[in-house]
């Protein structure tokens, strides 16, 4: 099976301290992978590196050509006080098709409506986002991912502070995407959830600890190793002797002309 994402000696970080250190490997097309690890182990940093928001300190991250990417950041990145309605937030997902200037057509509005139905938020179109509960907001953001119609989906901690029923509904959506052969990577903290619903897992502790079958990856030995890695942080750590050259994340899906709709359908 073809690879969708390839990491070559990828190091990402802040202020010369790596948050993801020398990651090698590939994410297969159509795979469903949980990214697990303690707080500060590099999970969100890896997501930002894949999206291209964070440039590699060394190595590279390559998205295979023809992939349309949808990224759901952590909720804390969203300004919930902004005067927008549910429909405005979900319609942002039309950006890959309509870009900066393209008109939203009747068909687009229908797709937005269908996405809201799929996440169980019919009738919420005109609700201001500052009146939504945490679970409703997360459903709204999943609806936006649906509208994006991407084949590489990155979800950063989508189940944080979400009730059990919403988690079940969102997991069903993720399984649906997996069934549709989309590639999905999800940052998750709940290891039981990973064992139950995710075929593959990547265990990070700054260093990649294990990557492969979810149950094997989450073995006690690996989890113990992850904890040892993670706690070995040092402000004055010596310089890493390996590679120093960086290649920015290659996003064949992104247009070079910012005024054109990107990933045009």
């Amino acid at each position: 099976m073809q690879d969708c994402l390839t990491f070559k000696d990828l190091t990402l970080g802040y202020n010369r301290h790596p948050a993801v250190h020398h990651l090698n490997g590939a994410v297969r097309m159509g795979s469903l992978t949980a990214v697990v690890g303690a707080n500060g182990s590099g999970k969100s940093t890896l997501m930002k590196g894949i999206v291209g928001i964070l440039k590699p300190m060394s190595g590279s991250c390559v998205v295979a050509p023809g992939h349309k990417l949808a990224y759901l950041p952590q909720q804390s990145e969203l300004d919930r006080t902004f005067p927008a309605r549910v429909i405005d937030l979900v319609s942002l997902g039309l950006w890959p098709q309509r870009g900066l200037l393209g008109r939203h057509r009747a068909d687009d509005r229908r797709r937005v409506g269908e996405a809201l139905s799929a996440v169980g938020l019919e009738g919420f179109e005109k609700r201001p986002i500052d009146s939504l509960s945490g679970g409703q907001l997360q459903r709204t953001l999943f609806a936006r991912v649906l509208v994006q119609d991407a084949n590489l989906i990155l979800l950063d901690e989508p189940f944080n502070a979400i009730d059990a029923r919403t988690v079940t509904d969102l997991i069903a959506l993720i399984s649906r995407w997996h069934g549709e052969k989309r590639t999905v990577m999800v940052v998750v903290h709940d290891l039981d959830l990973v064992r139950q619903h995710f075929p593959e897992a990547l265990l990070l502790a700054r260093e990649p600890v294990a990557w492969g079958d979810a149950r094997e990856t989450l073995s006690s030995a690996n989890l113990l190793r992850a904890r040892q890695f993670h706690e070995a942080w040092d402000e004055n750590a010596p310089w890493c002797p390996s590679g120093t050259t960086a290649t920015p994340t290659q996003r064949s899906a992104l247009s070079s002309d910012p005024l054109q709709p990107e990933n045009a359908a």
């Binding site: 990224y71 969203l78 902004f82 927008a84 405005d88 942002l92 900066l100 990107e262």
Partner: protein
């Protein structure tokens, strides 16, 4: 009826300088108020104030070489504003420092430089002109400049509207689907500079920011959607200009401050009686819905 006509219409009908002041102020409102709404929504309300100070040295250099001439002072202000916007923007994006701190540093340097340059040549009267403007002395040049700035601003807002909203609401999402995030930020700062420069001939560097921010802040108490908020801010801006000019005419008050004080009064009233204001939050509704 005739008293109303005498108070409200006659000053504008009879005097050319009042018509020009009204025309300039309305164009400024149409242009600057939506920019103010986005400044407020991006939590950069005080950035407008900082930028207003920042354009002073450029205007002062124009003044130093050419005296009280519109074009050199405007161009100077524009260059100074862009330098400060880009400088503080780059420092905040490339270093650990947040934009509020870098903006404060750049504008304080800029302001000190401006005051020093003005004091090299001018009197306090000149400094007052640069700081507080003369809306009642707008000439053709100034009106043309304001009209051009209005057109550029409205066109830019129309083109970048979707990106501006996305950048405010969910900047990381925008960065994941487009490379427009950083450029849009700088285009927006450019619009802020442009409108402050357009406003400084009429209202002065310090009061121009008042017409930008007060109607926007007032509109926030009445609506919870961006487009209606921009329209309402424009209406409040225009009403403040008309009200302020009439107040200045009838009570012989300084016109610029009168306009800003009028906008300030609308703001205070809105905080009190707006549908999202203080009174609304105190009033216990008599009915509530089942779900």
């Amino acid at each position: 009826m005739s008293i109303l006509f005498e108070w409200i219409v006659a000053p504008f009908a009879e005097f050319g300088f009042m018509q020009r002041a009204l025309g300039g102020a309305i164009m400024l409102s149409v242009s600057a108020c939506p920019v103010g709404v986005f400044l407020m929504l991006r939590r950069m309300s005080l950035t407008g104030d900082a930028m207003a100070h920042a354009i002073l040295p450029g205007a002062a250099i124009g003044f130093l070489f050419y005296g009280l001439q519109l074009i050199p002072m405007t161009l100077g202000g524009l260059v100074a504003g862009v330098v400060v916007a880009l400088g503080s923007g780059f420092v905040s994006r490339l270093t650990i420092q947040k934009e509020d701190a870098s903006m404060a540093a750049f504008y304080l340097i800029s302001l000190a430089l401006g005051v020093m340059i003005v004091s090299l040549r001018g009197s306090n009267v000149d400094l007052m002109h640069v700081l507080f403007g003369t809306v009642l002395a707008l000439n053709d040049e100034a009106l043309t400049l304001i009209a051009m700035i209005s057109v550029v601003t409205l066109a830019s807002l129309a083109v970048f509207w979707r990106a501006l909203v996305a950048e405010c609401l969910d900047p990381l999402f925008l960065r994941s689907v487009s490379r427009l995030g950083p450029p849009v930020h700088f285009v927006f700062l450019g619009l802020v500079v442009l409108n402050l420069v357009g406003g400084f001939q009429a209202l002065g560097t310090l009061l121009a920011v008042g017409l930008m921010m007060l109607p926007a802040a007032a509109a926030r108490f009445w609506t919870s959607r961006v487009a209606p908020m921009c329209l309402l801010a424009i209406v409040i801006g225009i009403a403040s200009c008309i009200g302020g000019l009439l107040l200045s005419y009838h009570a012989s008050l300084a016109s610029g401050p009168a306009i800003i004080l009028f906008a300030g009064a609308v703001y205070l009233l809105s905080t009190l009686v707006g549908t999202r204001g203080i009174l609304a939050s105190w009033v216990r509704p008599s009915l509530h819905r089942t779900a």
